[in-house]
Symmetry: C2
Subunit: 151 residues, 2 copies
């Protein structure tokens, strides 16, 4: 069901994040997924688990940061890029700041709770940001989820 993209392309990694989002969808969680990439290798994968864990801190990004830090045995992720299917919220952007995240690439913008709506810089100044990669696929998954919720 997921399209195939060239290995190591941004679309390739975002598709892996979308696969995580699909896992969230299948668990009746708001479908957001993330992967952390370092030296072209995916070192962490996570999806939103706030309902399953009854824990507002269990956003995909937060779990991905924790897992990536665990992989390194260090708390800084300045050599890593986070691919996430939805624009991070203030909490997740705040965590990215502390991790000194190297790169952030998100698919769909979050017009309600996205960190870019905040009138102060939340990310670390060194974090490079890109967005819009497979945004349509991410939005569709989110729309399907909320449509199903309303039925």
């Amino acid at each position: 069901m997921f399209k195939t993209y060239p290995l190591f392309s941004p679309e390739y990694y975002m598709t892996e994040a979308l696969k995580e989002a699909q896992k969230a969808y299948d668990r009746d969680e708001v479908p957001v997924g993330a992967v952390v990439v370092c030296n072209q290798t995916i070192i962490a994968r996570a999806h939103n688990l706030t309902e399953t864990l009854h824990d507002v801190t269990a956003h995909a990004e937060m779990q991905a940061f924790t897992a990536a830090s665990d992989y390194f045995g260090g708390k800084y992720l300045d050599e890593c890029t986070l691919f996430v299917t939805l624009e991070p919220c203030a909490m997740c952007a705040g965590a990215a700041f502390w991790a000194q995240l190297g790169g952030l690439i998100y698919a769909a913008a979050d017009d309600k709770r996205g960190y870019s709506l905040i009138n102060s810089p939340l990310l670390h100044p060194k974090t490079e940001v890109a967005s819009g990669i497979l945004a349509e696929e991410s939005r569709k998954l989110l729309q399907d989820f909320f449509k199903r919720k309303r039925v």
Copy 2:
């Protein structure tokens, strides 16, 4: 070493948060501690563990939210008050938003990374905020920590 205050007073709960901060200090962690109070009862205690866990998300507040949610088996903390020895950062304020935290009481202000420096509201509109309770004690612990670090 901690002064005794009347049971259920703000100073009583903040002293319990300071005891958590002292535990962080003793582990060579930036000394910040927190307790979550519901119906006058402390339902969660936590202290900063970012170095020990190599995890930037392991702020005292985040762990306290996770523990309190676990206690309730639900993710909302609208009947709870967080007592924390230092003003929360953007990440922790963002988490407090999602938890719809009922009350936030912090001791010392954080002039570098405090959420109140951000030019947009990060907390939930229903969260009642107070500050300054035992601020001097909290500041002293932080100053001692950083002074020790510089030696």
